[in-house]
Amino acid sequence: MKRFFASDFFYDFCRSPVTVVSFMVMMLLLLSAIFASFIAPTNPFDPASLNLMNGFTPPMTPNEFTGNTFWLGTDDQGRDLFSAILYGLRVSLFVGFSAVLLAMLIGISLGLIAGYIGGWIDAAIMRIADIQVTFPSILIAMLIFGVTRGLLPPDQRDELAIFVLIISIGLSEWVQFARTVRGATLVEKEKEYVAAAKLMGLGRAQIMRRHILPNVLGPVLVIATITLAIAIIAEATLSFLGVGAPPTQPSLGTLINIGQDYLFSGEWWILLFPALTLLTLALSVNLFGDWLRDTLNPRLK
């Protein structure tokens, strides 16, 4: 730990105020999502705690019937928006992180195999990747989402919607990882430490996992951060379009979707606050990712 604070990495971090702020905002949002159930004044998913009389309460003003005041107001069902945003943030981040993990898992494995083994296996994997990037990833996610939902029994659709969402976003974002890892693997496999490992009679799988994998992870970390922002936005987009997280378990996108119905009838807060949260989250993750890329990529220096 002491070595971390003394490192050039940490020094560089402290010298970039934008990065420090974005990192702090990111951590704040992350922690409030994790501890949502302790921070949120109400549980928006508990129907017993909802009072329809509280519906459409503007922010920071007492409700005319019940006299209750809500920081960020309430939605049509009388749900406290602040609590809903915290829980929605949790769903968004969970989907985002899981989707990135899935994309990393697929992308790194395929990239390593393609790069190390080469030949027709490489050609096959990379052509599939090429074909996939010709479609917008949101379209692929919608396609996978639609097909998977169609295959599920109707009573499980809402329950499993989140996982279907993770799979669809994960499958639409693996290409970046595979390409980066393949490129790095092509460089690493020619290095002499790999030849030394071959001389010890290690198998392909061992060389890939033990020797090459740790050395190609640097750029992967950078892409992972930037993909996290993309995945969060993809999830919000899908939910906004009504094909993502169900209203019983709303994510930030679902909240924005609900809010847009009321924007022009004067209830602006239902749209604005979830949207601002999403913006802040995506921006802070992106800024941090940019800095990480610049710092970890010595070629840019």
Partner: protein, 576 residues
């Protein structure tokens, strides 16, 4: 070092007075050039010699005002042709002071024709008409030994030596009074190095221009320069006539630097080279200890006891390797191109006796690394066989266990001290991996790792560190320790010292020799450097574009080489 300070006379072209260059780093102020003073006379070649980190390139950059920020000239004055350079470096550079850098591939613009680049430089510096500039370009190309009809060629169509000639033509075309050549021949083969150095000498004489030749190679200094300045860790340790310094060095560092340079003559075979042991790590900066050259126990005695049977350890027979460089099948069919086959190695046969060192020598592209890879089994030969102690290395019938047993006996030490160790692994893991892979020293891995580290002169505590915490020479020791881990009988060394400084090279060569004596190892030594061969090997094979042109005992070969190519290689190797 007041005895070595020179006072500038009116005839000196360049005078550097008390030059210091500093780099403010995060935690400390690095002083890379420390109070250096010297002069360059008109028409002379001054050599600046030193090992990596000596500040020799930085001195050159300071003169032409090309120090990258945050670096800065802290103190000192540079006087060129009677005037202080100060802020005028930009006006001098390229015009009065020409430059030749190490890598000719990056100092030429790859997108422009060589002739156009020369014309551009001429017209930038001299007020001449286009046709006049064209004539001058042709004259310049002829002067450096390039065919003027090739002015329309792009840099990538030139070989390394031709590119360096083109760079010299560029440096000359504004008729500079001084040429700063920073390691101009380090990337070139010896035969081409000799040509380029001759060219520099001739140009200097014909034009009366001065040359400041920066190099790490004492041999180059001795062959080329009139006077030499020796730098060590940013300080000037000695300056004087080249002959005087080489024959009667005054400073112990210079003496050690000369003593640890391997030479072709002088019968250094069977002797350990002198070495400079630096206090690495926390020792005071600049401290070093000199170990004199010493007679090592003759390898012959070990050989005699080790070889009960007289069959050679390694037999390579009719070894060939082709590489298919042709386009994919479909592209070839569509464009009516033929298959392109590179014959990297053709029909090479040699034998290595147990406990001896066999060296394969050749210039780049001679196929020596390909042979090394075939001899360890990393690459399968297209035809021919490698037999190790009676077992065919590429026998497909060989079972998994027999193959692993054979692998244990053959190990390799690689060229690059940076790429040969996995940067994410601790040294302890790097060294214990072969133990696990071959199932050796079960339960005693840590003890064995400590033993290996001590065997190559490192400390037991180094096992916990990562490769980047070590210097190039130390990393090469780790690489040797890894090769030793499986208790092999045969080690292939592929240019193990070509990336190292001479003093470190001496340490590594001495270590390899000592290990051979102690463990009765057999070496196949791959190198481009004849002087290294002369200190290491008992037998030599000379390779030229994939063919073994000559082989024989080391002394015989150096004394009377039969083939022209070998003789040319021996003649062009720079010597002290």
């Amino acid at each position: 070092m007041s005895a070595n300070q020179e006072t500038g006379s009116s005839s000196s072209l360049l005078e550097v007075r008390n030059l210091s260059v500093e780099f403010p780093m995060r935690r400390e102020l690095l002083r890379v050039v420390d109070d250096v003073s010297f002069t360059v006379q008109r028409g002379e070649i001054l050599g600046i010699v030193g090992e990596s980190g000596a500040g020799k390139s930085m001195t050159g950059s300071a003169i032409i005002g090309l120090i990258d920020p945050p670096g800065r000239i802290a103190t000192g004055e540079i006087i060129f042709d009677g005037e202080s350079v100060g802020q005028h470096a930009e006006q001098l550079r390229g015009k009065r002071i020409g430059m030749v850098f190490q890598d000719p591939l990056t100092s030429l613009n790859p997108l422009r024709k060589v002739g156009d680049q020369i014309i551009e430089t001429i017209r930038t510096h001299l007020a001449v008409s286009a046709s006049d500039a064209h004539k001058r370009m042709q004259a310049a190309m002829e002067e450096v030994g390039l065919d003027p009809t090739r002015a329309k060629a792009y840099p990538h169509e030139f070989s390394g030596g031709m590119r360096q000639r083109a760079v010299i033509a560029l440096a000359l075309c504004a008729e500079p009074a001084l040429i700063i050549a920073d390691e101009p021949t380090t990337a070139l083969d010896v035969s081409i190095q000799a040509q380029v150095l001759d060219l520099l000498k001739r140009v200097c004489k014909d034009r009366g221009a001065s040359v400041m030749l920066i190099t790490h190679d004492m041999g180059v200094i001795s062959e080329t320069t009139d006077r030499v300045a020796v730098l060590y860790q940013g300080k000037l340790v000695e300056v004087g006539q080249t002959r005087d310094i080489i024959e009667r060095p005054q400073h112990p560092y210079t003496e050690a630097l000369i003593a640890c340079t391997p030479t072709i003559e002088g019968g250094s075979f069977g002797r350990d080279l002198a070495q400079i042991d630096r206090s690495e790590g926390h020792g005071a900066k600049g401290e070093f200890y000199v170990r004199e050259a010493q007679d090592s126990q003759s390898t012959e005695t070990v050989t005699n006891t080790a070889t009960a049977n007289t069959t050679p350890f390694l037999v390579a027979e009719g070894l060939s390797r082709e590489f298919d460089l042709s386009d994919p099948w479909l592209v070839r069919m569509l464009s009516f191109r033929r298959k392109k086959i590179l014959h990297a190695v053709s029909d090479v046969s040699f034998q290595i006796e147990r406990g001896t060192t066999y060296a394969l020598v050749g210039e780049s592209g001679s196929g020596k690394s390909t042979i090394a890879r075939m001899a360890v089994g990393l690459l399968a030969p297209s035809s021919g066989t490698v037999t190790i102690d009676g077992v065919n290395l590429n026998d497909n019938e060989l079972g998994t266990e027999a193959r692993q047993a054979l692998r244990r006996r053959i190990q390799m030490v690689f060229q690059s001290p940076y790429a040969s160790l996995n940067p994410r692994w601790r040294v302890g893991n790097i060294l214990s991996e072969p133990l696990r892979a071959f199932g050796l020293a079960k339960g005693f891995e840590t003890d064995r790792v400590v033993e290996l580290l001590e065997q190559v002169g490192l400390a037991a505590t180094d096992a916990k560190r990562f490769p980047h915490e070590f210097s190039g020479g130390q990393r090469q020791r780790i690489s040797i320790a890894r090769a030793l881990a499986s208790e092999p009988e045969f080690i292939i060394c592929d240019e193990p010292t070509s990336a190292l400084d001479v003093s470190v090279q001496a340490q590594v060569l001495n270590l390899l020799k000592q290990l051979q004596r102690d463990l009765g190892l057999t070496y196949l030594f791959i190198t481009h450097d004849l002087a290294v061969v002369a200190t290491m090997a008992s037998h030599i094979g000379v390779l030229q574009s994939g063919n073994l042109v000559e082989e024989g005992k080391c002394e015989d070969l150096f004394a009377n080489a039969k083939s022209d190519y070998t003789r040319m290689l021996i003649d062009s190797a720079p010597r002290l």
